[in-house]
């Protein structure tokens, strides 16, 4: 089943055209990595998917329904589309547990005890139960990102968007976050991952998309993209990554 699609998606910032007509779709259980140099529009594309950046033209289609450009439909979409940010963005005024519960309690108005139980299960999954009552301020980047993943998962989203989830981490903390993401992928979580971690993209993705100057320049299996790149831009991009 197709979870999320875009048709002819366009986005401009002032005069700079960042996305020039993106056609994209992702099926349930699929892991899609989006790679490309900085300024290629990867993050903008991801942020357009849940309307953090408003598209200028084109359609965003969630489970075969076009998402209308009005507050109620956008909020409804966001309840089903999780997001993990480069800079974690945990709520500073809440403990780790409250952060994970926030969507369930505030958005879904679920009963506290139920939400807490689910949140504890998710913290267990990312290996951070002992931090449940700690405030984010005192934690490492890797821990923060794992909590952020648990927070996104709490809503039982149909797809999770990862916006360069390891780019703000110290190198030794990258592995713990990638391990959590690999597990998710194995469990069949539908994921769209904007990343500079080529090894991760190659190992975990079902499909890799190379974005260049706002256009999907090449798309294929990890083997096609990394071992047999056709496009000249992709080839020079990959050689510059040296992984």
């Amino acid at each position: 089943m197709t979870i999320l699609e875009t048709k002819n998606l366009h986005k401009k910032f002032n005069k700079a055209e960042v996305l020039k007509g993106i056609d994209f779709s992702i099926n349930q259980g699929e892991v899609v990595s989006i790679i490309g140099s900085s300024g290629s529009g990867k993050s903008t594309f991801l942020r357009c998917l849940n309307f953090l950046d408003k598209k200028d033209k084109g359609d965003i289609i969630f489970k075969n329904n076009i998402v209308e450009n009005k507050a109620a439909s956008i909020i409804e979409l966001r309840k089903h589309v999780g997001m993990v940010f480069q800079s974690f963005n945990l709520f500073f005024n809440m403990t780790v547990l409250k952060n994970v519960m926030s969507g369930l309690v505030i958005v879904n108005k679920e009963e506290k005890s139920l939400a807490e139980k689910k949140a504890m299960e998710l913290l267990d999954k990312v290996g951070l139960t002992e931090k449940a009552h700690v405030y984010p301020e005192t934690m490492s980047g890797g821990q923060l990102q794992r909590v952020a993943i648990a927070r996104a998962l709490a809503m039982s989203p149909d797809v999770v968007l990862f916006d360069e989830p390891t780019s703000a981490l110290d190198p030794e903390l990258v592995a713990e976050v990638l391990a959590v993401m690999k597990n998710l992928a194995k469990e069949g979580c539908t994921m769209i991952v904007v990343t500079h971690e080529m090894a991760f993209a190659r190992e975990v993705s079902d499909r890799v998309i190379f974005l260049h100057e706002g256009i999907i320049t090449e798309e294929g299996t990890p083997d096609e993209i990394f071992n047999h790149p056709k496009n000249e831009r992709l080839r020079s991009f990959l050689s510059s990554m040296s992984f």
Binding site: L52, F85, F91, T138
Partner: protein
């Protein structure tokens, strides 16, 4: 010797007159507490109005802040006291004083909130949105609790001003500390001791508030290392 005699006389006069201030202290407290609470509510409402991004509401909020910041408090109190009845709005003296002071404080408090809300990183807004919160839910659960914490030092400053500004209510016939001081000074001719009493009262009130605010600040810091 003369100095000590004078000092003794001064002190006995100050102490003798002090009990006469009690009704004034109560009035000062009532004026300050009510105008602080109402002013905070006004300040919050102004920010909520601006958050709606509906043009007329934003303009109304901006106009309110501009008028209050652009005119003297004394004039605002006169308007409440003399102006409103002429427009056919009758409220009692005390209410008009509270309304005037709260109206004044609200504008400044709204600016304090505005500043501290703007200081919240964009990522906090985005994370709240991304998880499906409405603007109001995000404001109530994420943005305002953080903004309030940052606002406490500046709010405290405004609250201290509010206590001292309540003395201006004396010019619209409210019998608070300053009004009593003037009356007692005229009646007893012990001008300096009486005003000294008044000064002590304002000092004690503001100092007590300051201690409370420090405690609040400390309690709100639990989430910092």
């Amino acid at each position: 010797m003369e100095f000590f005699e004078n000092a003794l006389h001064f002190l006995t006069s100050a102490i003798d007159n002090f009990p006469k201030f009690f009704p004034g202290i109560i009035a000062t407290l009532q004026l300050s507490v009510l105008s602080i609470i109402l002013g905070t509510v006004f300040g919050l409402i102004v920010n909520l109005l601006k958050m709606t991004k509906i043009k007329p509401l934003c303009m109304l909020a901006d106009l309110y802040v501009a008028v209050v910041r652009g005119t003297p408090l004394l004039l605002q109190l006169f308007f409440m006291f003399y102006g409103l009845p002429q427009m056919g709005i009758y409220i009692d003296r005390f209410s008009s004083a509270v309304a005037g002071l709260a109206f004044h404080n609200g504008a400044y408090i709204s600016e304090i909130f505005r500043g501290s809300i703007q200081a919240i990183p964009r990522g906090q807004h985005e994370a709240a949105k991304a998880i499906g919160m409405t603007k109001l839910q995000a404001f109530k659960n994420v943005i305002f609790p953080q903004a309030f914490k940052h606002a406490v030092p500046a709010l405290g400053n405004q609250f201290l001003l509010a206590i001292k500004d309540s003395s201006l209510a004396s010019v619209i016939t409210i019998t608070e500390t300053m009004m009593l001081a003037r009356q007692l000074a005229a009646a007893t001719f012990s001008i300096f001791p009486v005003y000294f009493d008044a000064a002590v009262i304002y000092m004690v009130l503001t100092y007590a508030l300051n201690v409370l605010l420090r405690k609040l600040e400390k309690r709100l810091k639990v989430n910092e290392r």
